[in-house]
């Protein structure tokens, strides 16, 4: 039996009230969205806040709408289930809908929110454990200790970014919007990550993620998501692969993007993806060859560690397989790529 440590609970009904509460409480306060990640972490005593501020009763944070400039605006408290099922997301941001449909199991998708997934705590098999477990082994660099159990002698935490939404949103050039008592701040998701597993986000104290905007995609936009996990029905990713292809005249690739996650602290954008695929015609032999070349390049650039379950050499071998399959699925307008 795992119980939460003691805390007080606040349930503000507006963003203004929530930011005020956070500003007044300072670092002893913690935000609770869907609770599917924060609650197990609380139970493991990874967080011990004095005050938990739930965003569940703030209606303005919920919903998906299309803005005047054609971009999609997704409220941070929109559930993963709603994102996966939304027809506009499926059509215009396929990779995000597919990634959302593969997050956890049905109950967790009903509870979890897109904002919560974007801000998911990095994961490591030496960190996501109970207090008893961690103290028996000796605490690690990420929480309470000084030693890294993944990289011997490592001075930097390598806990893995494990949010499926992050690579998908990176290929979609998403922008994150935060509110605090200081006002509103927007940041491109590309620039949001830090390479430190202890805390991998550039978010300021007292800020609440309120909205995620996706710029409109061109008509030739195709995208897909691939996910490797232990059990096909529920787990966090052992690898997450987001692929985007924008096709122009004669189905020739104008823009290509490949982002891979569940490696280390931030999602990895495969370098030179656009360069390799640009100008090739989808369906041609040349395209398949170039996709293979890009997959091998991804394999070379990605270095899975023993930070999350699954042998690192196997996960590395799977980088090439999932990169290739996900790119081909994007080109064919199918996906998600999934082993079960």
């Amino acid at each position: 039996m795992l119980r939460c440590p003691k805390f007080e609970l606040a349930t503000p009904t507006s963003v203004a009230a929530a930011t005020r509460l956070l500003a007044d409480a300072g670092p002893s306060a913690m935000i609770l969205a869907g609770g599917t990640d924060v609650m197990p972490n609380l139970k493991h005593e990874l967080f011990t806040p004095a005050l938990v501020v739930s965003l569940a009763r703030i209606p303005e944070l919920n919903g998906i709408r299309r803005a005047e400039d054609g971009s999609l605006v997704i409220g941070a408290m929109t559930t993963i289930e709603a994102v996966a099922a939304n027809s506009q997301v499926r059509e215009r941001a396929t990779v995000l809908a597919q990634a959302a449909s593969l997050i956890a199991g049905p109950q967790l998708r009903t509870m979890g929110t897109l904002g919560g997934n974007v801000l998911l705590e990095t994961r490591c098999q030496w960190y996501n454990q109970s207090y008893f477990w961690r103290q028996a082994l000796g605490f690690c660099i990420k929480k309470d200790g000084t030693k890294c159990h993944v990289v011997e002698g490592g001075a930097k935490c390598v806990a893995a970014a494990s949010n499926d939404s992050a690579p998908a949103l990176m290929t979609l050039d998403a922008e994150l919007h935060f509110e605090s008592v200081e006002g509103r701040r927007s940041v491109r998701i590309e620039e949001f990550w830090l390479g430190d597993g202890v805390f991998n986000k550039k978010i300021n104290a007292g800020e609440i993620l309120v909205e995620i905007t996706l710029p409109s995609t061109p008509s030739g936009h195709r995208s897909a998501y691939g996910k490797l996990r232990e059990r096909g029905s529920i787990d966090f990713p052992l690898l997450g692969v987001a692929a985007r292809l924008d096709l122009g005249k004669d189905e020739r690739v104008e823009r290509a993007d490949l982002v891979i996650t569940a490696l280390a602290a931030r999602p990895h954008r495969v370098q030179r993806a656009g360069e390799i695929l640009r100008g090739t015609q989808v369906g041609s032999e040349d395209f398949v060859t170039r996709v293979g070349e890009l997959a091998r390049l991804a394999h070379k650039q990605c270095h899975p560690l023993e930070n999350i379950p699954g042998d690192a050499p196997w996960r590395k071998a799977m980088v090439a397989v999932y990169a290739r399959r996900t790119l081909l699925a994007a080109a064919a307008g199918t996906g998600p790529v999934h082993h079960l």
Binding site: C4, L9, M39, S54, G105, M111
Partner: protein, 175 residues
């Protein structure tokens, strides 16, 4: 301590619990509704599944105070709800699980049956893929999945008035 006004299985119930208590703890240790099981207690197993406004959620990861004003259904409420709706005996899902032998130890069953009930309320004629998907968040460690899937199919068939021969899932699974 926090005063909680909850709606559980159609009843308006008042109780009190500390703010950090989960819905599962309040159901089991305040309201005496022990049908919802405490398994992993961290969102992996699905044994604590309850319906909140008709949707399956994990009560071990839900703070009790956050379901005030929402309708909670636990396994304890399935049969009474069926009878209130004019039925006789247990809910057809419970009947089918019984007749198909869709249990061994029974620990996963409350969550499994609530996930199945939520699916059938939403989609009266789901495909096999939809059934598997809806039950994906409920683990059975006795590995009685074959009979569990069979039980859900039995409910669907009987609701349609069909004379029932339970499908042999084994052939398909072995392919």
């Amino acid at each position: 301590m926090r005063l909680l006004n909850l709606r559980v299985n159609g009843d308006a119930l008042s109780t009190a619990a500390p703010a950090h208590w989960t819905l599962l703890e309040v159901l089991r240790y305040r309201l005496g509704l022990t049908g919802s099981k405490q398994g992993c207690d961290k969102g992996d197993c699905g044994a604590c599944t309850v319906l909140v406004d008709g949707k399956p959620v994990l009560s071990c990861l839900t703070l009790a105070a956050l379901v005030e004003g929402r309708e909670v259904t636990t396994i304890d409420g399935l049969m009474p709800a069926h009878i209130r709706a004019g039925g006789t005996g247990a809910d057809p899902v419970q009947e089918a699980f019984d007749r198909c032998g869709a249990l061994q130890c029974g620990f996963c069953q409350p969550g499994m049956m609530l996930s199945a009930r939520a699916l059938l309320n939403r989609t009266p004629h789901p495909t096999r893929a939809e059934i598997k998907d809806a039950l994906a968040g409920n683990l059975c460690r006795c590995t009685g999945y074959t009979q569990i899937l069979q039980a859900v199919e039995l409910v669907i068939a009987e609701a349609g008035g069909a004379a029932v021969v339970p499908t042999d899932w084994r052939a398909e699974l072995e392919q």
